[in-house]
Symmetry: C2
Subunit: 113 residues, 2 copies
Amino acid sequence: MESSCQVDTALEILVGKWKHKILFQLINHDVMRFNELKRAIPGITQKMLTSQLRELEQNDIIQRQVYPQIPPKVEYSMTPYGESLKPLLDAMHSWGSNHIKHLDQLFPQTNEQ
Amino acid sequence: MESSCQVDTALEILVGKWKHKILFQLINHDVMRFNELKRAIPGITQKMLTSQLRELEQNDIIQRQVYPQIPPKVEYSMTPYGESLKPLLDAMHSWGSNHIKHLDQLFPQTNEQ
DNA sequence: CGGCATCCATGACGATACTG
DNA sequence: CAGTATCGTCATGGATGCCG
């Protein structure tokens, strides 16, 4: 286990343009259905939502509960283990917010989105 | 300043397959020259190293010191502000390491690299 | 030594249509 | 409702060559 950089491991869970947004929703809502997530994350396509959910599920970050009925019903929620990501996400959010301010001090003119 | 997700901001500093490896080196070495970094990060190309260093510099994470001499000498180091990333990187590394173990418990057979 | 310019491969991501 | 399948696009990253 080369300890050089398990940062990659953590990053792989979070990058992808959508994963952390999905997690943000699930952390704050406990349980959400597929379309509920889709509605909550503007711009995401079914394809992306599906694939990202699958990856998060495979990493035991979220869990998927299927109700075999018509119409189908699928619920997503954080796993207990997945909750361990919250402090990290909070820390990143916090650092990110501060970074915006920092850049603002450095370049007062520019407006970074 | 929509607070929905400044996680992106933090991620943008760290993703890119190389940025956090560069930071890892600079955090542990104080000052490094261009080729020193290149040697320390197996597989990286000049192009990538250059571009990533530029981006980190623009975000005030690292600083670049040029010595106008022949042959050229350029030194890179963390900025004081850049040091504020260290706790975050440590937390990510720590979580990542633990995640490897966690996956190992879930899927004892598989060997994730 | 420390770059920059150019070209190219890959895969992440998006748009759209179809299905149980 | 919650997907799968297919196709297209574009940014990221890689290989190579030239330069002060």
